[in-house]
């Protein structure tokens, strides 16, 4: 065989290798937004970049934003926020939109011009007359709800990919730069003497409860920090994987989920482990508590219902698709935005059943 043909063979084999293996290395920016459930409507960012308003009872699509068939936002990751009939949603292009909740028509956008800020991954949070959000340009911004005028901004040491959490007059923000901040809601000034520094990136929104701030980090440690002072109360370091999702609490325990699929129940005061459950597959989806049960999912597409008390599996439901969006529950129904463009409403309290299932894809 001539060297030229051998070389050609090698080049073709390499291209094949690149094609077969390489395609898995590049992930498209499509988003995994958690749904927001109001009285009659489910608001949801689809993986095609549309903000949808669905009938909460039937899943039927009412309106979408942008309305044009070929128009779309780029990657909606954050759960939207709703206040005063206005829906707030950010996208990966670095725009925050204020939409009329009824018709999903645009009221204003930030920035108002063509300028772009860093990518918005975490959802916005509404507190008083402000809408607060973080972005990848290492900033937390507070805008006036009615017109989008900037009220204050705070520079962090890393990208902010989570929704700020507001408790009373304090805004708690986590950053991928290893820090968690407590800021004044009024002016964005730091409230702790210094931000809390974790050993790794903090990607999810913290949970604030029982006078503590709970969050997990990429250093594979789960932290409890005093909400008033920013001092560490306890830490849980048994995990062997990152923490990507916001934990939940029932007041007695806090339940973090690690990316290797391990679910932990930790004593809220001491951090002592009460039980752990292995989902058997990686996950970044945040769990939700429904009554005495915890609902959690993994990349395998199984929805697990666990006893919050014992960690025993009560039941499971197969949605047959990876789920990365946080699970959202209301009135005993869990809403699941799966990665295969399908949205499920599952009743998990009492008799377990599928309420509805729809496709958000315009191609189906």
């Amino acid at each position: 065989m001539k060297p030229f043909f051998l070389l050609l063979l090698v080049a073709c084999s390499s291209l094949l290798l690149v094609g077969c293996i390489g395609s898995k290395q590049f992930a498209a920016t499509a988003g995994w937004a958690g749904p927001l459930v109001s009285d009659e409507t489910v608001y949801l960012g689809s993986r095609e970049g549309k903000m949808l308003a669905l009938d909460a009872a039937t899943g039927e699509r009412r309106v979408s934003f942008p309305a044009g068939e070929k128009e779309h936002l780029l990657g909606i990751y954050g759960t939207p926020a709703l206040a005063g009939g206005v829906l707030f949603v950010g996208d990966y292009q670095g725009k925050l939109y204020a939409l009329d909740a009824a018709g999903l028509t645009k009221r204003w956008q930030y920035p108002a011009d063509e300028r772009k800020i860093g990518q918005i991954v975490g959802g916005p949070t509404v507190a008083g007359n402000l809408v607060i959000f973080g972005s990848s340009d290492k900033k937390v911004r507070a805008l006036l709800r009615n017109n989008g005028a900037q009220e204050w901004e705070f520079a962090t040491e890393g990208m902010v990919w989570s929704a700020p959490i507001v408790v009373s007059d304090t805004v708690y923000v986590a950053s991928l730069g290893h820090h968690v901040y407590a800021l004044s809601l009024a002016d964005g000034k730091p409230k702790w003497p210094k931000p809390f520094e974790a050993g790794g990136a903090v990607v999810a929104s913290p949970l604030v409860a029982d006078g503590k701030v709970f969050f997990g980090s990429f250093d594979r440690v789960f932290y409890a920090v005093n909400a008033a002072t920013g001092k560490e109360v306890w830490r849980f370091g048994e995990g062997k994987a990152w923490y990507w999702s916001t934990p939940v609490t029932d007041g007695k325990r806090v339940y973090p989920v690690a990316t290797d699929g391990k679910v932990y129940a930790l004593d809220i005061n001491s951090g002592a482990k009460r039980w752990e459950f292995d989902l058997g597959k990686s996950t970044i989806s945040a769990p939700v508590l429904v009554g005495n049960n915890m609902v959690v999912t993994s990349d395998a597409g199984l929805i697990y219902i666990l006893s919050a008390e014992t960690g025993a599996q009560v039941s499971s439901f197969d949605v047959a698709a990876q789920v990365r969006a946080p699970l959202i529950a209301r009135d005993g129904v869990v809403y699941i935005n799966a990665m295969n463009h399908r949205v499920w409403a599952l009743r998990v309290s009492g008799r377990q059943e599928k309420v509805w299932e729809i496709s958000t894809s315009t191609k189906e």
Partner: protein, 309 residues
């Protein structure tokens, strides 16, 4: 496909990715420096292969005049041509695909490095989320430093550069690749070969220059450093070679008489003398076949020898 993916990740991709992140953690947490150091490290590890490839290519180019002479001589006898060519390769200690072996081994390394760089600088949450499963759980520090700081000399290594900086980087990548290719491409008197070489010489730098403008800047940095190292290695093995034409002459098509080398006839004689292990019968057989050649062919050969002189 699942098995290939497992093998690929376990043997090539994951070790490289963790190596990159570890290097980042222990060398000041600057990913530009990490890429430079890692490229040097990989180039050092693969140096024996690279040297073998360069030497093999050099030997192949040295033996070309004799091959061309054989081609002329046995133009009508393909089987004999093949036999004589293989014998020549053997006697000269040349492996005709010797330059491809090292290349084949290096390919997975380069592809793995390419993807490791892309993967550790996630451009969106999807890629960062999928990074977690590739990091070794027994090296805590690789988890602590993610996501990596991608700023280096005004470039964001995780995204495509912005004008005019990306054009400067594209020029550096394309230029260094051109120099490396120019040094490593043997000069040839064969017009077809020369034309192919010429096309490759310009096509590759242009292609990579274009990639530079569109791909995350971490990759062009890797290409640039890799090219510079390649130039240094090439210089130590072959000198400036094809880069300064006045120092080298194209290999003559007809039997290398210019270079004081033997004609097809004397090739055979020389081979016979050199090959002490050959039996008397073999030598006789070869002489016999020599004599049995058509007269015209012999004349043509001599004619070409004359022209070559």
């Amino acid at each position: 496909m699942e098995l290939i993916s497992l093998l690929w990740n376990g043997l090539v991709f994951d070790p490289m990715l963790n190596g990159l992140v570890l290097l980042y953690a222990v060398t000041g947490r600057n990913f530009g420096i990490t890429i430079i150091l890692f490229t040097i490290l990989i180039r050092l590890v693969t140096l024996p292969l690279a040297l073998r490839q360069i030497r093999s290519t050099k030997k192949m180019s040295e033996v070309q005049p004799k091959i061309q002479a054989l081609q002329k001589r046995y133009a009508k006898d393909k089987a004999r041509l093949s036999q004589e060519t293989m014998r020549l390769y053997k006697e000269m200690g040349v492996n005709p695909i010797g330059c491809l072996g090292p290349m084949v081994i290096q390919f997975p390394i380069w592809i793995g490095l390419y993807y490791a760089i892309v993967k550790v600088l996630p451009t969106n949450p999807e890629s960062l989320a999928s990074l977690s499963s590739h990091l070794y759980s027994w090296i805590p520090v690789v988890h602590e430093v993610v996501p990596l700081n991608s700023r280096f000399l005004g470039l964001d290594l995780s995204t495509a550069g912005v004008p005019p900086l990306n054009y400067v980087v594209a020029f550096l990548v394309g230029g260094s690749m051109w120099v490396m290719q120019k040094m490593s491409t043997p000069l040839s008197a064969d017009p077809r070969q020369r034309s192919t070489n010429q096309m490759m010489l310009w096509m590759m730098p242009f292609m990579f220059g274009f990639f530079t403008i569109t791909l995350p800047s971490g990759l062009p940095l890797y290409w640039f450093v890799s090219n510079l190292i390649g130039i240094v290695i090439q210089y130590f093995v072959t000198g400036w070679a094809g880069l300064i034409p006045s120092r080298t002459k194209p290999a003559p098509v007809a039997a290398g008489v210019d270079a004081g080398q033997s004609s097809p006839d004397s090739i055979q004689d020389e081979e016979t003398v050199n090959d002490g292990k050959q039996s008397r019968d073999e030598r006789q057989e070869r002489r016999g076949s020599h004599r049995a050649r058509p007269k015209g062919a012999r004349r043509r050969t001599r004619g070409s020898r004359h022209r070559g002189g």
